[in-house]
Subunit: 459 residues, 2 copies
């Protein structure tokens, strides 16, 4: 019997997790695995790029979880600097360009994993392709930005106040570069509700970032020697370094051109086993849709956690096992400008379009017992369905030790818990870790009382 | 109509939570509330006592969440230094001694809350009542121990390596007092499995505590001027200060003498609403039993979290509402000697007597992404039912940021989750907080694979 040939398109989290899991279940005699990666690196931490750029992580090699050589030792061939240019579904081939030699070949597959990830959104304004304008999506971007910061730019502008933009701004300020962050929205971190993201605004300003909100960038000015300024609707900001942090979108041009169906989010459609509607074609990571477990709607998040889990599921199934990916909650966390920020489930603005009436409450508490040295503030916002008290989402902004508590809310959401039951959750307590009522439980208790009072009034 | 009179016996977490909740629902016109507390203080943090003794918290007043005067302002009369000496269930009276004046009076009640808490176990060895021997249960104990440490003892012995004993030993060492800890067990922290508590042993020794295990104390030696040494089965250890940290037991003599039924754990029996079998008599906190949600057996834990929640439930019900306390998981956390220690659910030694066959796995990982500055080790142990993969318990020992993750396992246990489903839990990730697979999920994934492999072999 001939060996099955698995081709993986994309050598980062999702693709290589799929390859690894398939290999664990099927040896090289049964299954050949080849992964094509257009970059130079595999299996690296994209989330670590801002820390690399800022010098908190010194060597880019530390961000690489597994090199092509290490994959090879485990029986997975990775060809870096090889870009897949086309997928032939009928003929089960991919056309691959060797970016070093310029040679194009056709490669056959029996099973295909599409793990092309996401690509940074480049705003449709003049000048975004000038030298000195950086994205921060691939490892090489981080290496390049680091090198640019090492040359001591005089002033930087970050466009966009999402995770990446904020982390980049912090990195720049920490390296002594005067930095302005411009965002079109009323607040940074638009995945939070405004009352919570306003707290992040404050922290960004406290750190010394010049924050310009509700002020879209209109152009990057400069010439072939580099950028000179960013022009917004209100002013021109001199800058010799620009970082784009306005988000990413699924990299699906390849799949779309091949005829692999995309869903309403614009990402690839997969079933619970991570298979696309095309026989033999699997997909995982930033380029695919997942089901949101609160809204039951398809969503497309770009998070390493999801990519790793989906890749694992795809690989188990390809290897002959049976596994399903139940969905996501959009749980995310970051530490920027001295505050920790986390969210899970749905935010207020996401609830109204779903027809979900909700109650919400934001509680301020402390990260440790109030009397314990190092106690910092923590704000916990919880949102619940008005008629049932079912938890719908949570957000946390606070000082050290605050944000990882979001995982309790995520686990409660996963189990569709109602506030009334959550109040009694037996969470841990000791003075170095929380008040005797954990801040999450204080928030839940307060909202539970609010919801029950309201129900009492109506019944 | 006459006012109802609520008498609360014990003015700390459970009793005052009950009083506060009852007051929120019933005004002074309907309900009179009087609490009797034999000590001088109300509503203080017993968990903060080691930090007070060690000087990390400077002023004992900071440990008091609410003073008698503050309770009075909310319409709750607290008589401190008043000890309830007897409860008359038939006549609905309590006999109360004013400890300052020595006067004994009878006080009527319509509704009674028994919240007498726990008392330190004094080992049945000679000399435990000598001056210079300290327990650490009431606020006054902490104040007294602090004063004794301020006098710069030459050497201290701590008897017992549970939470309180370890925290006391750390406080002593941090204050420069050469300290020996003796414990009869093979390891400190006997609520963990031995492989996990051995990690705590190491941390205790690293901090400079002389740790003598499997070495029961046989006597405290000294005279009326103070202690001079602790004698164990193996040696005599000179010491001019001794701290007893061998645990606490429910303070139930008063309830028992009155005829309020005790359960098999030796603590007061209550129903889910926190009512005892005696009409009009409620009880909450360290002196009552709760149902363990994994074993479904009655247990008696002494934890501030449980006391506060149970007091709240009792108070809501007394105030005319309806609330139930579903049970406990024994979730607990501490930070001792540079490591964080946490547990929830059942430990291996608790499973066998219940007839629960289990699989367990201990995983070492890091508290942050491996490349991120400040990443420390974290060991996560998870235990699951062999035939079903249902989570039964979890334990964590690790460096800063490790322990609060226990709350995810507690929330999963609360929802009776199985490992196979937990693997996909959408927990948060960013490099300052965890590897891309949270250490808890790594542990769960590994154990899940182990359980499924075993099931596969048998079927």
């Amino acid at each position: 019997m001939d060996r099955t040939r698995l081709v993986v398109v994309g050598g980062d989290a999702a693709g290589m997790s799929a390859a690894s899991q398939a290999r664990r279940r099927r040896g090289p005699d049964e299954l050949e695995i080849v992964a094509f990666e257009r970059g130079r690196h595999t299996s690296y931490s994209a989330c670590g790029l801002p820390y690399l750029a800022g010098g908190l992580v010194d060597d880019w090699r530390r961000l690489v979880a597994r090199t092509p050589e290490e994959h090879a030792k485990r029986g997975i061939e990775v060809r870096t600097r090889h870009e897949v240019e086309a997928i032939d579904l009928g003929g089960r081939r991919v056309r691959v360009r060797d970016l070093n030699r310029g040679v194009v070949t056709d490669e056959a597959w029996d099973v295909l994993v599409v793990a092309t990830g996401a690509e940074p959104i480049r705003p449709p304004i003049p000048g975004v392709d000038l030298p000195g304008v950086f994205g921060l999506a691939a490892l090489q971007d981080g290496i390049d930005l680091r090198a640019a910061i090492d040359e001591k730019p005089e002033a930087a502008v970050v466009v966009g106040g999402g995770y990446i933009g904020l982390e980049a701004a912090e990195a720049l300020v920490n390296r002594g570069v005067p930095t302005t962050l411009v965002d079109r929205g009323e607040h940074v971190m638009s995945t939070l509700d405004p009352d919570m993201s306003a707290r992040v605004d404050d922290a960004v300003r406290e750190l010394g970032v010049e924050l310009l909100l509700a002020e879209p960038a209109e152009a990057v000015e400069g010439d072939r020697n580099g950028v000179k300024a960013v022009r917004t609707v209100a002013r021109t900001i001199p800058a010799d370094l620009v970082v784009l942090g306005i988000g990413t979108r699924p990299r699906v041009a390849l799949a779309e051109a091949a005829g692999i169906p995309l869903g309403e989010t614009g990402a690839i459609v997969v079933n619970e086993r991570q298979r696309t509607p095309v026989d033999g074609v699997w997909a995982a990571g930033d380029c695919v849709e997942a089901r949101h477990l609160v809204s039951n709607r398809p969503v497309n998040y770009h998070l390493g956690t999801i990519a790793n889990k989906q890749g694992r599921i795809a690989g188990i199934n390809i290897g002959g096992g049976y596994a399903t990916f139940p969905g996501v909650l959009g749980t995310a966390v970051t530490r920027v400008c001295g505050v920790e920020v986390a969210r899970t489930g749905l935010a207020a603005a996401e609830l109204a379009p779903l027809g979900l009436e909700h109650e919400a409450d934001t509680t301020e508490s402390t990260t440790r017992a109030g009397y314990f040295p190092g106690a910092g503030t923590i704000a916990v916002k919880v949102l619940a369905e008005r008629r049932s008290g079912r938890l719908l989402g949570g957000q946390i902004v606070g000082r050290e030790g605050a944000a990882k508590r979001i995982d309790v809310l995520a686990t409660a959401l996963w189990n569709r818990m109602i506030l009334h039951d959550m109040v009694n959750l037996d969470l841990s307590y000791a003075p170095p870790f929380s008040p005797v009522w954990d801040p999450v439980l204080i928030a839940v208790r307060r909202l539970s009382e609010k919801v029950e009072k309201r129900l009492g009034e109506h019944w």
